[in-house]
């Protein structure tokens, strides 16, 4: 039965997240944008207490959880990423780890000191083209250890993951000649010799969150740290098991990125609406278009675009919670939300003029923060490519 009503539990969770965003996050939002590499210790501690109570995972993601994340990012998208959690690393472990691996690697996120998890995919020479990955994993049969070598960049939360007792899921190839088939995810735990954080980036936005480079120099990890089978299956490269697992992870995380984007988008929209309201300028819904002012038309177009992306996100998340394949819908949601939020936040800055461009308010920050959602976890274009392949029933060879 088609239904748009949240359960009381979901609504309560969203309300609580909104209250926290408003009272705890917004007051420190600007400070950590201006002090890029400083750690919000109190915030982290407080988030850790909540997180540990909740089991330490961003997963088990349903509609309610995605809307909670939306509220978190309405508060601050950068700080949301700083909240300790197993993050994308946890998502990968859940997507392709055994029960034993899940218990073994994820338990830490519910106990002790704050910890983070991250995922390392991108390399200096391989962004969206993940099959071009150069980082290698070689099995040392004498010690039964994997030896990892390579350089991973743009790891969201990489520094905090390696400097806490966390972990990073590193994608490496066990056979460079096999392309995607050779790609496997490996769990590299913090403190492993040979795994070092080399650089933390300075960014346009989400500055509270660290984006790090990880150097793997003869980094030895136990055999059991490979997620899934080590076997290289050379079939049609788009259907290889290793690559599929990476994509399965993205099917779970893309709707979440969409939700994050939407949080920033709604923050901007709310700013515009509240400013207009303060000035006594109403938004008159339901008028014929020839009677609308330019401002009303802009606001309505922004709201309609926001709704479009929001409903796509809810559908993708709902499908995930129903264990339905959602690769197409997840990419639709991510592509749409990325584009829409980049546009809404830019439009809001334009509309608010001197209020929008000034660092006195947060609007300009949201324009900078929002843009990341059109880039990470697959750029808007990569997501369009996935949507296009799905609707055309094309392989990656048929549609490059």
């Amino acid at each position: 039965m088609i239904d748009f009503e949240l359960t009381p539990e979901e609504q309560a969770m969203i309300d609580a997240a909104h209250k926290e965003a408003l009272e705890v996050v917004r007051p420190i939002s600007r400070y950590y944008d201006e002090h890029e590499h400083e750690s919000p210790k109190d915030f982290i501690e407080q988030q850790w207490q909540q997180q540990a109570q909740g089991g330490g995972s961003i997963l088990g993601l349903g509609v309610g959880a995605s809307l909670r994340i939306l509220e978190n990012c309405w508060g601050d998208a950068g700080l949301m990423l700083v909240a300790p959690s197993s993050g994308l690393g946890g998502a990968a472990i859940l997507a392709s780890g055994t029960q034993e691996q899940q218990a073994n690697f994820l338990k830490r996120f519910g106990e002790g000191e704050p910890k983070w998890g991250a995922m390392a995919m991108t390399e200096p020479g391989a962004g969206s083209d993940t099959a071009a990955i150069q980082t290698t994993a070689v099995l040392d049969t004498e010690t039964n250890e994997w030896v990892l070598n390579g350089e991973k960049i743009f790891i969201t939360g990489g520094q905090r993951s390696m400097e806490s007792d966390g972990l990073v899921v590193v994608w490496a190839t066990v056979d460079r000649t096999a392309g995607r088939a050779g790609m496997k995810p490996f769990v590299v735990e913090a403190g492993t010799p040979g795994a070092t954080i080399d650089k933390v980036e300075n960014k346009l936005g989400i500055r509270a969150s660290d984006t790090a480079t990880l150097i793997l120099d003869n980094c030895r990890i136990p055999y059991e740290n490979i997620l899934g089978s080590p076997e290289v299956r050379r079939v049609d490269s788009s259907q290889t098991a290793g690559f599929k697992r990476a994509m399965a992870t993205f099917d779970m995380t893309r709707p979440i990125i969409a939700a994050m984007a939407l949080g920033v988008g709604r923050a901007s929209l709310d700013f515009v609406r509240e400013t207009l309201e303060k000035e006594g300028i109403p938004i008159r819904y339901g008028l014929p278009s020839h009677k609308l002012t330019a401002i009303e038309r802009d606001v309505m177009e922004m709201e309609a675009a926001y709704k479009a992306a929001l409903t796509l996100m809810l559908r993708a998340t709902w499908m995930m919670s129903q264990f339905q394949p959602n690769s197409l819908e997840a990419s639709m949601a991510k592509a749409k939300a990325g584009i829409v939020v980049a546009w809404i936040t830019q439009k809001a800055v334009e509309m608010m003029g001197p209020l929008g461009y000034s660092r006195k308010y947060l609007l300009e920050k949201w324009m900078r923060d929002g843009k990341i959602n059109d880039i990470f976890e697959g750029t808007g274009q990569i997501n369009m490519l996935i949507v296009a392949r799905r609707i055309l029933d094309y392989t990656r060879e048929e549609l490059k």
Binding site: I2, R315, E398
Partner: protein, 364 residues
């Protein structure tokens, strides 16, 4: 709890409409657009499916099914996928029946509803749009003035589907600043129906201009009697119907363009394997889905008897843009072939442009 899956019953209805489209509508819709005529047997077959009688209570001879705007949007989308002219023709009687079901007085229900439950297609329609660019349904120029215990209606209307054959019309007029509906029977003095209109699209649908020249209407014929009607709700029910139809038209155009792009070769491979084409198709698919979901939400709200003005107007606004963009892109994907009437995309393009105009021409 949030869910995006139609009920089994809704899915059955959708499948029934799909079958009807494939067996009947899609076999003739192109010729109908050229000739301007819809074969009577198609309308009769659709009538037998009971789209309208199903929402009329049993005490008025209907099937007494649950009245649902959401189910209505599913039907409207599917019918419009088949053909927009036929969808509007088939659902035209609802323009009178649904407002009477929801807002009519007991007498109005008794008098009119049984006639929508018979064996034959009941020709009834409503007149809202007026022939000017700055038409505003909340500030109609057609007026209803009280006189001698009744009303006198004066004004001009256009885009009135099936007006020439209709034996019952629901005419909307400005009564002291409010839009109210008046049930006018065929042959009422002062009701003058002009020649059939000639439009860019929906060419198989017969639409008419009409004038009301001091047309006297008894006070019992005011929709809802003394209480009047909630025009805002009627208009929102129309917004979601038209948004759903826009999704149907968009989907038809998208599917055709997608299939064509996989067949058509250029530079040694299907044009769909080029990103310039593939990305257009992806964007079309995304906006079609988004419009459908927004429409569902607005309809869902209307089913809960809540004010859905914001949701319905945003969905309709998005749908209007989607319909023209998607159909325009469908023509573009076919290139020169899209411009030729051998292919149907130009028909959908002409129909797609109409959604910004079709105020109140369909209802769920």
């Amino acid at each position: 709890m949030i869910s995006f899956s139609p009920s089994e019953e809704q899915q059955m209805i959708v499948n029934m409409v799909k079958e009807f489209n494939n067996d009947h509508v899609r076999k003739v819709y192109r010729e109908c657009d050229e000739s301007g005529e819809i074969p009577a047997n198609i309308i009769d077959t659709a009538w037998e499916l009971g789209f309208i009688a199903s929402s009329i209570p049993e005490e008025f001879q209907g099937f007494g099914g649950e009245r649902s705007a959401l189910t209505g949007t599913l039907i409207a989308e599917e019918l419009a996928w088949g053909d927009l002219s036929m969808a509007m023709h088939i659902l035209c009687p609802a323009l009178v029946a649904m407002p009477v079901v929801e807002m009519g007085t007991d007498e109005q229900k008794k008098q009119y509803l049984p006639s929508f439950c018979g064996d034959k297609f009941k020709v009834a329609t409503s007149a809202l749009i007026e022939p000017r660019f700055d038409f505003d349904p909340a500030e109609l120029q057609t007026t209803a003035k009280r006189a001698n215990g009744g009303y006198i209606l004066s004004g001009e209307k256009c885009y009135v589907p099936l007006a020439a054959d209709a034996d019952l019309l629901l005419v909307y007029a400005n009564e002291g600043g409010n839009t109210q509906g008046f049930l006018i029977e065929k042959g009422t003095p002062g009701l003058e129906i002009a020649e059939r209109e000639k439009n860019m699209g929906i060419k198989a649908l017969a639409t008419y201009e009409l004038s009301l020249k001091d047309c006297k209407v008894p006070k019992e014929n005011r929709l809802g009697g003394d209480a009047g009607c909630d025009f805002n709700r009627i208009y929102n029910l129309s917004r979601v119907a038209l948004s759903a139809m826009a999704v149907g038209v968009g989907r038809a155009a998208f599917e055709y363009a997608r299939d064509y792009a996989k067949e058509r070769h250029a530079f040694g491979e299907p044009i769909a394997s080029r990103q310039a084409i593939a990305f257009m198709l992806a964007e079309m698919a995304i906006d079609i889905d988004a419009t459908r979901l927004m429409t569902w939400e607005a309809a869902w709200k209307l089913d809960r008897n809540e004010d859905a003005t914001k949701e319905a107007s945003l969905a309709k606004m998005y749908a209007d843009d989607m319909a023209i963009n998607v159909t325009n892109n469908a023509v573009q994907v076919l290139g020169g072939h899209g411009y030729i009437r051998e292919h149907p995309v130009e028909l959908w393009f002409r129909n797609g442009r109409g959604f910004a105009t079709f105020d109140g021409m369909a209802i769920v």
